[in-house]
Symmetry: C2
Subunit: 463 residues, 2 copies
C-alpha cells in the first residue's frame, strides 16, 4: 500500500540501477553457482573442521575476484567432533528392543565406554524437567514436543529452548542423559542436530536428538510401562582453534565510513552440505556485493559483507565481530542477515526507529514484481544480534520458510533443496535492499528501544 502510493511520485532511486541489479541477479546464476561451490565443492563446514577453513579460503578468493576489499578477521572457535553414535530401546516384558535414530547435539560430551543405560522419563517443557527434581536422578530425560505433529502449533522458536537448555537443566538435577525430539516439520526417521548449551562449570550430560518417529515410539512405549534406553556417543570437544570471519567491503562513493552490513554464516553442521543453512545466505549476499561492486557508480555508503564463522555452535564469529567493531557501531547504519534458507522472498522486515518505514517504503517499489514489496515479518539474526543491542537498525528480506525445518540441521540439507529460481529472486531482493540502504540520502533512524536495550546489554553481556 505504501509502495502503491510511492508509485505516484517520482522514484527516489534510479530505475536503471534497479533494473540492472535485479536483472543480473535473476539471470546470471552466480548466487546458485556459489551455493553449489560451497555445498558440492567444500561440503560440511563445522567450526574447526577442514571444510570450515576451506570455506574461509574460498570466500577470500571469490571476494577478490569480485572486486571487494576483503580481509579475514581472527575468531577463536569451538572444535566439537561427532564420532560414532547409536541408541536402542532395550527389550521389555514381552516386547522386542528397537534401534533409535539419533544424532548427538553439538556441545554434548560423549558417553563412557559401553554407553549410558537408564530408564527414560518424558517431559514436555523446561518447567516439567525442573519439577522432576530427584525423580530425574540417573534417568535419561526425553524432551517431547509437538512441533512435528500434524495440527501441532509449536514452532521452532517455542521448541528450540528444549534443545538449547533442556539437557543442561536435566544435568543440574542429576540426570544421566538427554534425548530431544528433533525440531522438524517433516521426518523420514532422520534426526536433526543443533547446539545445546552447558554453562562453564555446570554439570553436563550426553545429549542427542532423536528422530520424530522414534520420539513417537518412545512416547507410545512409555504409556505401556517403563522403558530402558542405552545411548552411546563418541562426540567430544577438542581445544578451541583459530578461525576467521571473512569481511569484504564495497566502499561507498560519498560516505565510505557509513556501513550497510550484510551477514550470513560460512560454517554449517557436519551432517550434510549446509546448502540451505547457510550456503544459500552466503551465495545471496556475495551476489549482492558483487553486483553492487560492478555498478558504473557505487552507492553513497559502504556495503560490507560479513561471512561469520561458528554461527551454529557458539556464535563466536558474531560475538567477536561486535566486540572488535564496537567503536564503529555508530557507523553501522543498517544490518541485514541472510540465514533463512533458499526460499523466495515474501516481504521486508524492519526493526528501526520511528519513521523508518516511511523513509524506506518508496525504495521497495522495484520489489513488487518479486512479490516482496510489502513490509512484514521480523528482522534480525543470530550473528548480528549483538549489533542490534548496539542500536543498529535491522532490515530483513523475509523468505518462504514453509519447508525450511523439513531439512534444517539434518542430513537432508543438501543442494537439491535449493531451487535456483527462488534463490535468484531472493538474491535480487537482497541486492536491491542493500543498494537502497546504501544509497538513501538519509540513513534509517536508529531504534530508541534498541539503543536503550543496548546500553543495558553492553554492560552486562558476557563477552
Amino acid at each position: 500500500m505504501l509502495a502503491m502510493i510511492a508509485l505516484l511520485a517520482a522514484p527516489p532511486y534510479s530505475p536503471e540501477v534497479a533494473a540492472r541489479l535485479v536483472g543480473f541477479a535473476l539471470t546470471d546464476g552466480v548466487a546458485y553457482a556459489r551455493v553449489a561451490e560451497l555445498a558440492d565443492g567444500i561440503g560440511p563446514r563445522l567450526s574447526g573442521s577442514p571444510g570450515a577453513e576451506a570455506a574461509v579460503r574460498w570466500a577470500v578468493q571469490r571476494f577478490r575476484e569480485d572486486g571487494a576489499e576483503v580481509r579475514s578477521e581472527p575468531v577463536k572457535v569451538p572444535h566439537w567432533v561427532r564420532g560414532e553414535e547409536r541408541a536402542e530401546i532395550l527389550p521389555g516384558r514381552g516386547r522386542a528392543g528397537h534401534s533409535l535414530a539419533i544424532t548427538a547435539l553439538g556441545g554434548s560430551p560423549g558417553t563412557p565406554t559401553g554407553g549410558v543405560t537408564a530408564e527414560v522419563v518424558e517431559v514436555r517443557s523446561l518447567a516439567e524437567v525442573r519439577a522432576l527434581g530427584d525423580k530425574a536422578r540417573g534417568k535419561i530425560v526425553f524432551f517431547n514436543h509437538n512441533m512435528s505433529t500434524p495440527g501441532g502449533k509449536t514452532g521452532y522458536g517455542e521448541a528450540s529452548p528444549l534443545r538449547n537448555h533442556g539437557p543442561a537443566e536435566a544435568a543440574k538435577i542429576g540426570a544421566a542423559g538427554a534425548l530431544v525430539r528433533s525440531l522438524a516439520t517433516a521426518s523420514l526417521r532422520d534426526p536433526h542436530t543443533g547446539a545445546t548449551t552447558f554453562e562453564d562449570g555446570a554439570p553436563k550430560l550426553p545429549a542427542a536428538a532423536v528422530s520424530v518417529e522414534d520420539a513417537e515410539l518412545l512416547h507410545r512405549l512409555l504409556q505401556q510401562g517403563p522403558v530402558q534406553v542405552r545411548i552411546g556417543l563418541g562426540c567430544r570437544s577438542l581445544p578451541d582453534v583459530d578461525s576467521a570471519n571473512v569481511v569484504a567491503d564495497v566502499r561507498g562513493r560519498e560516505k565510505p565510513d557509513e556501513i550497510v552490513l550484510l551477514g550470513a554464516h560460512l560454517d554449517s553442521w557436519d551432517l550434510a552440505q549446509g546448502a540451505i543453512d547457510d550456503a544459500a545466505g552466503v551465495g545471496i549476499i556475495m551476489e549482492a556485493a558483487r553486483l553492487i561492486a560492478h555498478l558504473p557508480q557505487r552507492p553513497r555508503r559502504t556495503v560490507r559483507v560479513v561471512l561469520f564463522m561458528n554461527e551454529e555452535n557458539g556464535l563466536a564469529g558474531g560475538k567477536t565481530y561486535a566486540r572488535v567493531h564496537t567503536s564503529e557501531a555508530e557507523r553501522h547504519v543498517a544490518a541485514l542477515e541472510s540465514d533463512a534458507g533458499a526460499g523466495r522472498p515474501i516481504s521486508v522486515g524492519l526493526r528501526a526507529g520511528a519513521g523508518a518505514q516511511a523513509l524506506l517504503a518508496p525504495w521497495l517499489v522495484p520489489l513488487e514484481q518479486l512479490g516482496a514489496g510489502e513490509f512484514g515479518g521480523e528482522a534480525g539474526g543470530a550473528d548480528t544480534g549483538p549489533l542490534g543491542a548496539l542500536g543498529v537498525p535491522f532490515v530483513g528480506v523475509q523468505q518462504d520458510v514453509s519447508r525450511y525445518f523439513d531439512y534444517h540441521h539434518s542430513a537432508a540439507d543438501t543442494l537439491d533443496k535449493v531451487r535456483p529460481a527462488e534463490l535468484a529472486q531472493t538474491a535480487a531482493a537482497v541486492t536491491w535492499v542493500a543498494y537502497a540502504l546504501a544509497e538513501m540520502p538519509e540513513p534509517l533512524p536508529r531504534s530508541q528501544a534498541a539503543a536503550t536495550h543496548a546500553a543495558g546489554a553492553t554492560s552486562t553481556r558476557p563477552q
Copy 2:
C-alpha cells in the same frame, strides 16, 4: 454404475451381516492393535531373524484366540544379514569428499576388508548397462532414474527392475560394485533397501541403494568429471533356515473344501518396523478372518488366511505354499493379497473369467459408503502370484498408495505412518469382500487366460 443398478433389486446378501462386519471393523480397533503388536512389540522381521520367528509364534497364538484352525507350514528361507555399511565419494581435483547415505540391497554380498574403491559410471536402464560392455569392468555402476524427480513419471514398476536385476547385469560384465538410486517418492537422505537377484552360479557384486539426494550429487559431480567412490558393506548370506507360513482356516458351513485365500506377509525388511509393509496387511486380513469366525453363521466356503514368510527377499513362502497346495489349486476359488500399506480403500480390482464382474457387482454395494464400491485397479500380488498361474481368480481391495513409496523399504516404515481410521476402512472393505467371495452361491469363473498361462507355467516354472 453396476452397483447402482444392483440397488434396485433385492440384495443377494444379508444387510445385517454386512452392517455387522463393517461396523465391527470400523469400531473395534483390533486391526490397528495387531499392527502395533507387530511393529512396536516385535519390530523388524527379516527372514531368518528372531523377529520373524517371534512373528510366527505371535500369529499362531492370535489365530487360536480368534477361533481359527491354525497351523504353521514349514518354509526354508534365506538368512541374509546386513552388518556395517558406509560409502563415500573420494576427494577430487579441487573438490572435497562426501559421505553417501547408502544401505545394502538384500542378497548383496559384502565387500572385501577395506571396501571396494572404483570409478563410477552412470546408467539409466538395463539396456544402457548391457551396452557398457568392457567399459564397466572394475567400475561401480550407478543406476539412476527419475522415480523421485518432481514431474518424473517413473513409477515403482518401471524403476524396480534396475534394483532387482541391474546389479546382476553389471556383475556379468565385470563391474566391481553397484549403487542404485532409491525407489522412493520422497526423501530426506534416507536410502530404501529391497531385494536384488543374482542367479545361482552367476557373478555377484556388492550392491547398495543410495539416497535420492546422494544420487543427485553423484549425477552432478559426474557431469564435472570422473568420480571415485569407496563402498564398504558388511552384509552376508548365512545358511538357509527353517521358518514357516502361518495358515489359518475359518471353515465354511456348506462347502468347507472351497477356499477363499487372504494373503499378507509376516516378514519385513530389517531397517524399520515394517508397519506399512506388511504389518498393515497382516492386521487387515487377520481382522477379516476374526470377524467372519465370530459371525452367528459362517459363510458357505472356507476363508483361509495365509501369512507368508520371506516375501521380501526370496518369496520362499509364496512358492512353497503353491507347491505344497498344488493339488488343491482347483479348490482355491479366489485369492486376495493385502500388501499395499495402510491407506484407505478406493476400489475393487478383479482378475477372473468372463462374467465375474457381473457376478460380484451386487455384493459390492455395502462398500459404496466406504468409497470402494466400484471396480478399478488390479488384483494380484507377489506371494499369491503362483496361485494366479494355477488359474485362481484374484480380487484386490485397491488402496490409496499416494504416500506408500515415501516410506517403503526404508527406516521410516514405522507405526506412525499407519492412520488407524484409514486402516479400519480397508479392514472393513477386505472383510466384506472376503465374506462375499465365501458366501456367493457360485464362485467366480476362473480365467481362461490364467488357466492357459498356468498350464504353461506349471511345466516350466522352477520350483
